[in-house]
Structure formats: structure tokens, C-alpha cells
């Protein structure tokens, strides 16, 4: 019976997602709608959509699970995610928005005037995006398994199909509506059980008191509760990865282009931070309650604590209903983040791999939007296959590795590319390659078992603290060695990046937005 209610709730989310997506499709008429939602999304809508997209499976299920198992240190995940957004705002958001480039590969090409650097970036976007999609599918599998007992592949397949349909059909504009709706659903789903618990017990301090004794060591900061060695290093490395990795996440940057101008982008960010902060109050509460009411979950990794807690505390119909609500919210989390990632990855696959080939094969006789749709299918099928092959890692671990990869590649490219005019094309390429190889090697070693303990395990498990500086140093040293490879148009790039939008300088014919607007036709049935 409880399974039936939860399945019905998940079904409702799926129906609502498709319904809002179809509504968006009806008003999605032009190419600009398709890629950047016509840049006509108001800051409030956009902030809800950004938060809806940003709060992934790792935030909804993973953070509570990590705090439950590893103790108070893991609160850094929620702080790090939030601070990452701030770093993005102050360091790169405005200049990048001004550059006129719409994806990271576009930025790389206009700033460094090199097709090779562009290709490396395209590969990295697909790599990071796929690495980030894995935990979403994993979370979906886990949620469906917890609720119905079905194998994990079922939940992952459901998310894959819905996302492909939605992204392929509606593009960015409909996704924006869907994601804004999903933020509020997620917040409600996570907050409601907590409020019910507090209402029923009247005294929240009673809950805290029940924690004394058994969980005292777990609540201590930098305890080794989860069996981690070198907790100080691990925490710093994680914090670095989250702070500097957010700016390299493909789906996050694309979102900034849905704002009409830089001013609106700044306003949006303020609202986003408030919404994120509000959301992150709740996962730790689940973890604290989980220590008291579901201590057995510690042994299984804890990722299901948010889903199981309502049923543990309120056996019976109330618990079933709250559980169904949480399951629905979790599903919204997988759907929204996966949709955003798929839009971002599909955009890159479409532009850098597919469109020119399709154009050649069909002799120009094709509708551009259909290549975006094929790209969306590829972008989602590959992680699904990878998911069925690789099996289970902890949700937040996979996410941590995606952040480490982003902070070791795109962070140096963006920060130095925007602020350092002596950066050479060779330096940019070398930094991307060295940082990318170091971080993905660490990820591979980690996935395949890895070292058992001590420093090797700490260094491989949380690589950002050494891979990120390595990438920065590589860029700087190689750039100093190759001063003749500084792009000829650096002066123009710098003016474009640093004069606010109000200054009406030509932002260049080489940028995608202009090119795409000229060459694409609207979707066939619009």
C-alpha cells in the first residue's frame, strides 16, 4: 500500500513535468527560445529555475546520507555548494556574460582563437556532464528501489526517457518553467516532514537531547566517524573543489544566459543564494533525526535516509503520505538536474560534433533543431549505459569527483583567461590537459577500488587540493614559455570581457548566439 501511494506521487511529478514541458513547447517558437529561453526570463523565475536545476540528487539525498554516516564535517557540502555559486558570481559571471559566448567551448574559442582549445573544452563539458549525470540516475534507481523494490535500472530508465522527451521537445524555455516548479516541489517535499515532526513533538530540544551520548563523537567536527584519514586535508580539498568547481559545471553557466542583462544576472544570483540557503537547512536535520531513528542505515551508506525517515517516525498512513511526498521531491531533483545537464551537453554535442556532419551528409537539407534532438538522446543514453555498467558509488562521492575535474580544468581557464592578458593559447591547452588528466586519473583510481588508507587514499579520494594548483601552475609556466602564442585579439577580448553591456562595442561575429540566430530555423511544429 505505501508503495502504491509513492508510485502515484512519482507518477504525478512525471505527468506535471511533461505537462509543463508541453506548455513551454507551445510558446517556444524561435531558436533563441530553444537555447536561451529568449533571454526573457524574469530574475525570480530564473532564480527558482537555477535553484531547481542546481539542487541535484546529491543535495536532496546525498548530503543527508553523508552527514548521517560521516558526521558534522559533511555539512561542508552544503556550504561549499552555496559558496561555489558566489565565486561564480564575483569572478566570472559578468565577464563571461559579456563575452557573448554561450557555452564554455565558445568562450575558449573566442578568447584563445584556437579550434584545438575549443575541442578540448567540448570534450571536458561532455565528460564532466556525464560524470554528473551518473549520480542522478543512481539516485533515481535508489529511490524507486526503496519505494517499490524494483531493480535500480528501472528508476534510471524512467528518468532517462522523461528527460530526453522533455529536452528534445521543448528546449530551454520549457525546461525553465519545469525547473522553477521543481524547486518549490523539492523544498516543500523536504520541509514538510520536518515541520510535521516538530509540530507533533512541540519541543525540538527533545530531539536534540535524545542525541546526547550515542552520537556525541559523530557530532564532533573532523572526527573520523566515516573512517576517513586526514580529515583536515580532505575537508579543505573538498571545499576547494566545491568553491572553484561550480563555475566549471556546464549546466550552471548556460543558465546565466537566460538573463536579459548583467544586472538581471546579479539580481538572480542574490535570490538563488537565498533559495539555496533555505533548502540546505533541511538535509542536516534529516541526518540528525536519522542518527536517532534509523541508525541501521549508517551501515548501508545512508543515501536512503531522507526517503525512509518519515515512515520510521510515523508508522501508518501519515508516514506513507509524507514518504510519498519525499519520493516525489526526490524524483523532481533527478529530473531537473538531469534536464539541465542534458541541455548543456546536448548543446555542445550538437555544435561541435553533430551539426556540421549532419549538414554534410544531408547536403544542407535538414532542420537544425533535429540535430539538437539527436544530441539530447546521445547525451542521456551514454550515462545510462555507464550507470548500468559501473554500479554503485556513494551519490556525493561521484559528484565530488565531477567538481574536482571542473575545478582543475575550467576554473584556471576562466579565471586566468578573464584576468590575465599574457595567457597564451598553448598555456590554456596545457592547463586543460594536465588538470584534466590528473583529476580523471584520480577519479578512475577511486572508482576501481583505490588505495586502502592513509595519505594515498586521502589524496586520490579528494584530489582538488593538488590537481587544481597543478593546473594553474601549468598554465602560468607554459604561458611564460610561449609568449609568441598569446592570441592576437587579446586586446579586443579584454575590452569585451570588462566593459559592461551598456557599452555598445561589437561583441563579435565569431560568437555562437549571432551565428546560431542567423543559421537556424525554428522547430518544425512551432
Amino acid at each position: 500500500m505505501p508503495a502504491a501511494i509513492s508510485v502515484a506521487a512519482i507518477g504525478l511529478v512525471v505527468v506535471a513535468t511533461i505537462g509543463i514541458g508541453l506548455f513551454g513547447l507551445r510558446i517556444s517558437r524561435t531558436t533563441s527560445d530553444f537555447y536561451v529561453a529568449s533571454r526573457a526570463v524574469s530574475p525570480r523565475w530564473n532564480a527558482s529555475a537555477i535553484s531547481g536545476e542546481y539542487l541535484s540528487a546529491a543535495s536532496f539525498l546525498g548530503v543527508a546520507g553523508l552527514v548521517l554516516v560521516n558526521g558534522a564535517d559533511m555539512l561542508w557540502f552544503s556550504v561549499g555548494y552555496t559558496v561555489g555559486y558566489l565565486m561564480l558570481l564575483v569572478l566570472v559571471a559578468a565577464p563571461l556574460r559579456r563575452s557573448g559566448a554561450y557555452t564554455l567551448p565558445d568562450f575558449a574559442e573566442t578568447r584563445f582563437e584556437s579550434a584545438a582549445v575549443r575541442r578540448i573544452c567540448a570534450g571536458l563539458v561532455v565528460g564532466i556532464g556525464t560524470l554528473y549525470l551518473l549520480p542522478q540516475l543512481q539516485g533515481a534507481g535508489l529511490a524507486v528501489q526503496t519505494v517499490t523494490g524494483a531493480p535500480p535500472q528501472v528508476g534510471a530508465a524512467v528518468v532517462t526517457v522523461i528527460v530526453v522527451i522533455n529536452v528534445a521537445a521543448g528546449g530551454m524555455r520549457s525546461i525553465t518553467f519545469v525547473q522553477a516548479f521543481q524547486y518549490w516541489l523539492k523544498l516543500t517535499a523536504l520541509a514538510a516532514p520536518i515541520f510535521v515532526i516538530l509540530l507533533v513533538w512541540h519541543q525540538p530540544t527533545g530531539v536534540l537531547d535524545s542525541l546526547h551520548g550515542a552520537a556525541a563523537a559523530w557530532a564532533e567536527p573532523l572526527s573520523r566517524a566515516g573512517g576517513r584519514d586526514h580529515p583536515l586535508y580532505a575537508t579543505y580539498s573538498l571545499l576547494l573543489a566545491l568553491c572553484f568547481g561550480t563555475m566549471g559545471l556546464p549546466h550552471v553557466l548556460v543558465r546565466f544566459y537566460t538573463n536579459p542583462d548583467g544586472r538581471a544576472a546579479r539580481r538572480t544570483t542574490v535570490v538563488v543564494l537565498a533559495l539555496l540557503g533555505l533548502f540546505y537547512l533541511f538535509p542536516p536535520m534529516y541526518a540528525v533525526l536519522g542518527r536517532t531513528f534509523a541508525p541501521d542505515l549508517v551501515a548501508t551508506g545512508g543515501d536512503t535516509v531522507v526517503l525512509e525517515l518519515p515512515g520510521r517516525i510515523f508508522p501508518g498512513t501519515a508516514g506513507d503520505l509524507l514518504g510519498a511526498l519525499v519520493a516525489a521531491g526526490a524524483f523532481a531533483a533527478f529530473l531537473s538536474t538531469s534536464s539541465g545537464l542534458t541541455v548543456a551537453i546536448a548543446g555542445v554535442i550538437d555544435q561541435d560534433l553533430l551539426r556540421s556532419r549532419l549538414h554534410r551528409w544531408t547536403g544542407g537539407d535538414y532542420v537544425a533543431v533535429s540535430s539538437f534532438r539527436i544530441a539530447a538522446l546521445i547525451a542521456m543514453i551514454v550515462p545510462y549505459l555507464a550507470f548500468t555498467v559501473t554500479g554503485a558509488l556513494s551519490l556525493a562521492d561521484t559528484v565530488g569527483l565531477a567538481f574536482a575535474l571542473a575545478s582543475s580544468t575550467f576554473c584556471p581557464l576562466l579565471v586566468l583567461g578573464i584576468w590575465w592578458r599574457r595567457m597564451s593559447t598553448t598555456g590554456a591547452a596545457a592547463g586543460l590537459v594536465v588538470g584534466g588528466i590528473a583529476a580523471s586519473a584520480a577519479a578512475l583510481v577511486n572508482v576501481s577500488g583505490g588505495p586502502q588508507g592513509g595519505w594515498p587514499r586521502a589524496l586520490v579520494g579528494q584530489p582538488a587540493a593538488w590537481t587544481m594548483p597543478l593546473a594553474f601552475v601549468t598554465v602560468i609556466v607554459v604561458s611564460k614559455l610561449t609568449p609568441d602564442r598569446i592570441p592576437a585579439g587579446t586586446a579586443r577580448s579584454m575590452v569585451r570581457l570588462h566593459t559592461p553591456e551598456a557599452v555598445d562595442v561589437d561583441r563579435g561575429p565569431a560568437t555562437l548566439t549571432n551565428r546560431a540566430a542567423g543559421s537556424l530555423r525554428p522547430p518544425p511544429h512551432a
Binding site: 556550504v79 537531547d209 573532523l222 539580481r267 544570483t269 579584454m494 551598456a502 562595442v505 563579435g508
Partner: protein, 112 residues
């Protein structure tokens, strides 16, 4: 593909880039943003350090209840993140946008 060597407008960009107004705009941005970024990163990192080496201070209970210094600092992380953002946004509206407007008038030769 942008081929800068054949770009007739390139000299305009060079002119803008070497103009005092443009360097002033960039310098002001850097003078505000870089120290601010460094400062808030230090604040987050010091918190972790305190958690490790100043147990006594962090677990000090305020008013005899369940509220500790660490808990207050932890919530403060979120509050300060939000405050920093607000400060930045207000600063950018007041100090960057008006000068950009001025620079635009100079570039386009429009009357003030």
C-alpha cells in the same frame, strides 16, 4: 572564426584598452573583487581550522543551552555568504554601471 590581423576595428579596441577610463574601471573592479574573494575564502577556511584546533572555544555553550559557538558560526557561514552577495550587487550597481555608462558616451561620442 575571428581573424584579428585583418580586423579594421582592432585599433578601436586597442584605443579603448589603453584608455585611462578603461584601466580605471578594470582596476576598481579588481581592487574590490580580489580582496573580497580572498577575505571570504579565509573566513571559510579558518572555520574549518578552528573546528580542528579550538575544540574548547567552538563547543562553548551559549546561555547553557544546546547552542554552541560552532553552531552559530556554521549558520553564520550562510548568512555571511548572503551578505557578501548583497554587498557585491549593490557595489556593482553603484560603482560599475554608472562609469560604464560614461565610457559608452565617450566611445559613441554622444553628448553627456
Amino acid at each position: 572564426m575571428s581573424d584579428s590581423t585583418r580586423d579594421p576595428d582592432l585599433t578601436t579596441y586597442r584605443d579603448v584598452q589603453v584608455s585611462p577610463d578603461f584601466s580605471e574601471l578594470r582596476r576598481r573592479f579588481r581592487r574590490f573583487v580580489f580582496p573580497m574573494t580572498a577575505l571570504f575564502l579565509v573566513w571559510y577556511f579558518v572555520y574549518v581550522l578552528l573546528a580542528d584546533y579550538a575544540h574548547g572555544f567552538m563547543s562553548h555553550r551559549i546561555g547553557g543551552g544546546n547552542i554552541t559557538v560552532a553552531l552559530l558560526f556554521g549558520l553564520g557561514q550562510f548568512v555571511s555568504t548572503f551578505a557578501i552577495t548583497l554587498i557585491y550587487v549593490r557595489w556593482a550597481d553603484r560603482r560599475i554601471d554608472p562609469d560604464a555608462e560614461k565610457l559608452r558616451h565617450q566611445l559613441e561620442g554622444a553628448p553627456q
